[in-house]
Each structure stands twice: as C-alpha cells, then as structure tokens.
Symmetry: C2
Subunit: 142 residues, 2 copies
Amino acid sequence: MQLDSFFPYRLAVASEAFSRKLTEVYQREFGLSREEWRLLFLLANAKSLTSLELSQRTTLDKVQVSRAAQRLDDKGLITRAISEEDRRIRVYHCTPEGHRRFEQLLPQVDACAQGMLNSMSAEDRAALDRGVTALLKAASET
Amino acid sequence: MQLDSFFPYRLAVASEAFSRKLTEVYQREFGLSREEWRLLFLLANAKSLTSLELSQRTTLDKVQVSRAAQRLDDKGLITRAISEEDRRIRVYHCTPEGHRRFEQLLPQVDACAQGMLNSMSAEDRAALDRGVTALLKAASET
DNA sequence: TCCGCTTTGTTTCACATGCAACGAAATTTC
DNA sequence: GAAATTTCGTTGCATGTGAAACAAAGCGGA
C-alpha cells in the first residue's frame, strides 16, 4: 500500500491545497482567518445571529466562535450585543464596514475557487460536486 | 449566497469530518498525530527515507518532519541515523515495533474509511474518487 | 425565596504550530 | 586552502488551539 494511493490521504491533500489557495486571498486582502471569514460570511447574509446559530452553521465550537467574533469586533466588522431577553446570549450583527469588505472579498475568493475548478473538465467538476455531497452526508451520518 | 451551498465550504467540511473519524482511530489506538501517522505509513513501506523524501511525499515541511520524527523516535517506532555520506542528512528507518503497530493500525484505519465510503452508493464513490483525483491535479497545478 | 442545576460565553493552561534564527556540515568561490 | 555561501535539521519565540475550569445569568423545585 502506497500513501499517495490511499484515498483518505489524497482527499486530505486535495482539500488542503484547495483551501490554502482561498485562505491566501482573504488572509492577504484583509488579514482574516478562516474562522473569521466564515463568521463574516454568515453575518453578512443575515440580519442577526446568536452564537449557537453561528456555531451550528459553521462547525465551529463555542470557543472558536467567541474568539473569532472578538477579533472581528476588534476589526470593526461586526458588533456583539447582549440579548435583551436573555443576558447570557450574544447577538451578532454585521457592521456596514463588514458588509463592504465581504462584498469586496467574496468575488475574489469565488474567482480563485472557480479558477481552479475551471481547469478541470466539466465532467470532473460534476463528479467532484456529486462526490462531495455524498461524502458530506456519509461523514455526518456515520 | 449561502455558506452551506458555497462549494469551498462544503469541501472543507466534508474533508474535515472524514479526516476526523480516521484521526480518532490512530489517536485512540496508539496516540499518533496525523503527521506521525503519515511518516510511519511511508517508513513502514520503505527500507529507508531521508527528510527530504519524507517531506516531499507528505506535504509536510522540514520542521513538521523533524518534530514528528522526533516523537516517533521517542516512541521507539522509528530510528533517525546520521548519513555516512553527508552528515547533515538524517536517514530514517522503521523499527520492528513500528512495523508491528503499522500492520495493526492500517486495517483499522482502512476499515473506518471504508465504513464511511460504503455507506455511499457505488456511483457516488466513483464520482468522489474521480473528482478528488481531478481536484488534486488542478490544485497542484494552479 | 433559596439553593441547586443548567446554559452561555469567556478565560486559563498546556500544548501544537509557523516562522525566523541558528549551528553544523557541505559546497563554492577566489 | 580559507572565507563566503548554501543546505539540512533543530530550536526559540510568538501565536493559535483544545479541553477543562470558570463566572454570570437563567431555570426549577422545595
């Protein structure tokens, strides 16, 4: 058995290489980490979200959400209000500046991703999409 | 645009979930990290390798190789000899104990991977394999 | 109400990681 | 052949991360 023909290894390497290219974009442009990028992504597309919602929709745990949100707050991209109903709960909002940066960043990140995907054949792209969808289901169920 | 329909995100989540399941196996069984597991994998299937070879064949940089190899040495799974020809170079070998553990571990890791893959349809599995192969090529070239 | 229990978010601590500097060995250049 | 340069592996440092402890707020039963 060779490592580079071992499927789990090939999946990890492919995914990391792909992810790394995208990370470079939002890292270089605005100094955002992957966690920060994900939170900003969600908040830019929603009026307001709580930690629990952010956590569930990003596969980040509460500590990661807390820290990434703190950094985004420091950068002025989001706000972290305390809920009126339950004062333990944080309610996150995207600031106008956060929106502005997200609108600027998404096309660049997407272009980078599409650039790599477009170097593949249409059939390969379709296969990848189908395979990832199935894997997502399999890994979450098992 | 929704995050969970953004392809790069779905790929990352799927890959991480898959990888996490496998990590649990060699983490739990022998307390190996992913880097250690990869090095052991290579060394168990080769007579001897240098740092450069290990690095190239695992996508780890020299620091990661150095540290992971040190830990494997501490655990008695590999040896780190100094090359006769060039005394800067390390030559790594797998010990009998390292071989033994690898032979014990690989079937378990593989079974875990196959378990997830087998919950997918044959067509989905084929699509995934094809897609990952194409992505590996695309990401490494771009 | 009071006391215990749960939930939520943050902090602490120990450890992993990435980057740059470093020392030793080899190679090149003059 | 000595000095400068390059290569190889390791180490130090500053930062990031995960697990558990923690404080604050809410909940719930006596």
